[in-house]
């Protein structure tokens, strides 16, 4: 599969997952680009093209988790030119968006990745496979995260 096509198809998805994990535009952008560098350099090695999405998500989640090596603290990020301008302006002012990301930022590391993948419409067994967790564990966690998020969002309303 052509790399440019892959990038355009998955960049938004990977950026959202990374942004959900870090709640920091700069970090999310760096990790997204780092993810695609790894995709670019290893694309020839992937044998099962049908599982390419899972492969890209796995690289992204490993890159996100690897940031524990850095001591840098998380902070709310600024804007970037590559974000869709019209969407961005609307998004920043969107209180729901900010609230949702603040609620997600309070979740544990693995849960932030799980909910990110889930909101990207990944199936539970796929999430379990990417993160190396059992299917039942992912199912329980998603149920719990949904409850926590709903509760927090209600509280903030």
């Amino acid at each position: 599969m052509e790399f440019e096509h892959l990038y355009k198809e998955y960049s938004s998805k990977i950026f959202r997952v990374c942004f959900g994990y870090f709640n920091d535009t700069e970090m999310a952008k760096d990790v997204m680009q780092d993810t695609f560098i790894t995709v670019f350099t290893n694309l020839k090695e992937i044998k099962h093209q049908e599982n390419i999405a899972g492969w890209i998500y796995r690289i992204a989640s490993n890159k996100c988790l690897r940031q524990i090596e850095n001591e840098k603290k998380k902070q709310l990020g600024s804007e970037y030119s590559f974000l869709n301008h019209e969407e961005t302006d609307h998004r920043v002012e969107d209180a729901n968006f900010v609230r949702l990301h603040q609620c997600i930022a309070e979740l544990p590391d693995m849960d932030r990745l799980i909910i990110g993948f889930y909101l990207e419409d990944l199936k539970q067994d796929k999430i379990a496979e990417i993160l190396g967790l059992s299917h039942s564990n992912v199912r329980v966690r998603i149920h719990r995260i949904k409850e926590v998020l709903s509760k927090k969002m209600k509280e903030d309303e």
């Binding site: 959202r16 490993n62 869709n84 609230r99 693995m110 190396g132």
Partner: protein, 194 residues
């Protein structure tokens, strides 16, 4: 906002401008390749430069016909070849983080770092020791002129080697372990909700 579908809609409202992002990525990729090429180029320049020095040194010491200097140059050559091989591995080696799932990957990180750190430390100690020995052997002929000189330089050599192995190695090893423990505790935090 109670509905999960609303949350999903809000989540997916964040879109990346694919064309602009791809252009930015292409530049990043170019810079990344440039850095990698530069590292390899520097490595080759260093290797060529060092080979030239070694070549000149070998010719120079052959003329002197000294057994100690010959041993010294062999030690230097072996150390250098080993170091160049090691640095080549560090430049071209990449972590296969695209192969394992996140849990396996993150759980193996401290082990990888610990092994890498200890390998680097061991390399530092061995190379420094051999380097000191080769310097010692290089000047041994001239030191033979006075027995006190041999005694003094041998004592100095042993002292320096002892400092490397008895003082420096444990200090650096402790630092590696401390860093590794910090990483391990962060990983434990990640999995504490399992």
């Amino acid at each position: 906002m109670n509905n999960f579908l609303d949350l999903k809609k809000t989540w997916q409202s964040l879109e990346v401008d694919a064309d602009e992002s791809f252009n930015e990525f292409s530049q990043t990729l170019q810079q990344w390749r440039k850095r990698k090429r530069m590292a390899i180029l520097l490595w080759f320049i260093a290797a060529i430069f060092f080979s030239a020095i070694c070549f000149a040194y070998v010719i120079h010491t052959d003329e002197l016909n000294s057994i100690y200097k010959s041993i010294s140059e062999i030690i230097l050559l072996v150390i250098s070849v080993h170091l160049f091989g090691y640095s080549w591995g560090r430049i071209t080696g990449e972590r296969n983080e695209y192969l394992s799932n996140s849990t396996d990957f993150i759980r193996t990180l401290p082990d990888i770092y610990l092994k890498q750190g200890q390998r680097d430390l061991m390399m530092f100690c061995i190379v420094t020791t051999f380097l000191l020995i080769s310097v010692y052997l290089h000047f041994l002929d001239s030191m033979f002129k006075s027995p006190a000189g041999v005694m003094l330089s041998s004592t100095l050599l042993l002292t320096l080697i002892s400092i490397v192995w008895i003082i420096l190695k444990p200090i650096l090893s402790k630092r590696i372990k401390r860093k590794n423990q910090r990483l391990s505790s962060k990983i434990v935090e990640i999995f504490q909700y399992d």
